[in-house]
């Protein structure tokens, strides 16, 4: 690891609590992600992974605790002050979250039009590159309603990488994709990290992807990270929850362990 331990973490969550109504989702969550690493968040369905991710760019605000990006506390920043943070931090939504009213091309062009002053040709060039990177060069003029779930996700990813962000938050990037495209996305995430030193946070159920791309892994359960460590450490972990998860018998056995 080239990162020094005393480096300021790219993303730091400190004692973050978040509840929706009476339902507590995050409870004293602590997390530090180093600059340039790929951090995978594992966890059962409904364990709050997406909620956790949405704190990292200020889409959700913690009820208590702090979120720091490159050492800057964003917990109480106004929406307009968050713009700079968000410009350099792309987010792939679990659902893709494409704009229904815009074509695939316009969707990918959206952040470019918003933040960069590109000529028409440059814009088209850039959009084409991004779509090619996710294997969708031929779908430029389709509308989102004409795409399959996996294609939507890939267009979403193209939209995320369009601005060449420093940090990318991926919410289940390979769910709903065929193995070939899963591998392509895995490679893309890896190459972004290697070529551009992108800090990546990947929420996923896909263990194969997780081991292929992650530097470190955290396991989220009951609103906090029950275990966190490098891929090797997690593989050799004796923590029962981690072992159960990595064996692949996910949620059901997690609950069994809890009750036993």
């Amino acid at each position: 690891m080239s990162d020094l331990a005393n480096d300021v973490p790219a993303i730091e969550m400190h004692k973050v609590c978040k509840a929706f109504g009476r339902k507590t989702v995050l409870l004293n969550l602590d997390l530090a992600i180093r600059s340039g690493e790929t951090y995978a968040i594992l966890g059962g369905s409904g364990s709050g992974k997406s909620v956790c991710l949405k704190h990292m760019n200020g889409l959700l605000r913690p009820d208590s605790g702090h979120v720091r990006i490159d050492g800057v506390d964003i917990t109480h920043l106004s929406e307009s002050a968050l713009i700079d943070v968000r410009k350099s931090c792309g987010m792939l939504f679990q659902s893709g979250a494409l704009f229904d009213s815009l074509s695939v091309f316009e969707n990918v062009a959206y952040p470019l039009r918003e933040h960069l002053k590109l000529s028409k040709a440059e814009l088209a060039e850039r959009v084409k590159e991004c779509l090619a990177a996710v294997g969708l060069s031929s779908s430029q003029s389709l509308m989102p309603s004409e795409l399959s779930g996996g294609m939507r996700k890939r267009v979403g990813l193209a939209r995320v990488i369009a601005l060449q962000p420093k940090t990318i938050l991926y919410d289940e990037p390979t769910t709903g994709l065929d193995p070939g495209n899963s591998r392509r996305i895995g490679k893309l995430i890896r190459s972004l990290q290697e070529r551009l030193r992108v800090t990546s946070v990947v929420v996923t159920h896909d263990l194969e992807l997780c081991f292929a791309i992650a530097d470190r892994i955290g396991l989220l359960k009951d609103g906090a990270m029950v275990s966190s460590g490098s891929v090797g450490e997690m593989r050799d972990s004796t923590h029962p929850v981690v072992r159960a998860f990595l064996r692949g018998d996910q949620d059901a056995s997690l609950d069994e362990i809890e009750s036993s």
Binding site: E79, M91, Y110
Partner: protein
């Protein structure tokens, strides 16, 4: 005797309902301020505004045309009939003109457009909220208020007065058709209208619709952004918009009329 627990539950329900209402009102005011501010920031959404004016204004032409035509027809029919009883048939033009220009044109147009456009806005933005598209806008470092609310607010606020002017004209022409049937000449009909409907009347009718349009758009957007709970939530939000927008139009009409009568 009602058991105390039941009373408590009721009190609690009333209390939380009141709090909810207050919160919504607060959110509404906050949204208005933010929308206003977003107009002066970088990236004014010119294109989106034009698209919205097209969808709000141009696509409402037919519904406004039909509404005002039949309003004019019915109004004239009733007026001719009633006035004939008093031997005051020649005043048909005056009455029809005044009724349409002062109230029927502005309010009916606002109600029709409020239903059509308000529901459309809430359904569209509400769906964007529940499918995380609004979050996606935020995540890309853009402002959903500037991108979504501002263009719709401007489009409805600017289109409604124009649609009202159109409704006034069509309504009066509708009245003319009936007047002609009852032996009132075209020349006389317009003469009575122009001698009784003043420019002030016309202006005060149209001026109100700026407020109506603004109210409709802001109610619709505010409800939309508060949408929770998937597609069912979108349905609820849409219903709420139609109800609140119509009621706000009628209530604000009363107060605006009062104010305009004193200052004009």
């Amino acid at each position: 005797m009602i058991p105390q627990a039941k009373v408590e539950v009721r009190v609690e329900r009333v209390g939380s309902g009141a709090l909810d209402g207050l919160r919504r009102l607060g959110d509404f005011c906050l949204l208005c301020v933010r929308t206003w501010r977003s107009a002066f920031r970088r990236h004014f959404p010119v294109r989106e505004c034009l698209v919205q004016i097209e969808s709000v204004g141009v696509r409402s032409l037919v519904i406004v045309g039909i509404t005002s035509l039949f309003t004019g027809l019915v109004l004239a029919l009733q007026t001719v009939d009633s006035l004939t009883r008093f031997g005051a048939k020649p005043y048909t033009g005056s009455l029809v003109g005044l009724a349409i220009v002062l109230e029927m044109g502005p309010v009916l147009t606002a109600l029709m457009v409020g239903g059509r456009v308000g529901a459309g806005i809430t359904a569209e933005i509400g769906s964007m909220v529940v499918t995380e598209q609004v979050d996606a806008i935020r995540a890309m470092g853009a402002d959903p208020i500037q991108k979504l609310v501002l263009p719709r607010m401007l489009a409805v606020t600017l289109s409604l007065p124009l649609l009202t002017i159109l409704a006034d004209i069509i309504g009066i022409l509708g009245g003319l058709l009936i007047a002609l049937q009852h032996g009132i000449t075209r020349h006389f009909y317009f003469q009575t209208i122009f001698s009784s409907v003043t420019l002030d009347d016309f202006i005060s009718g149209v001026a109100k619709t700026f407020v109506f349009g603004w109210l409709i758009a802001m109610v619709a957007c505010s409800n939309a952004l508060a949408t929770r709970g998937g597609t069912v939530g979108v349905g609820h939000a849409t219903k709420r918009t139609v109800v609140i927008a119509s009621i706000s139009v009628l209530i604000s009409d009363f107060f605006l009329t009062k104010i305009l009568l004193t200052i004009l």
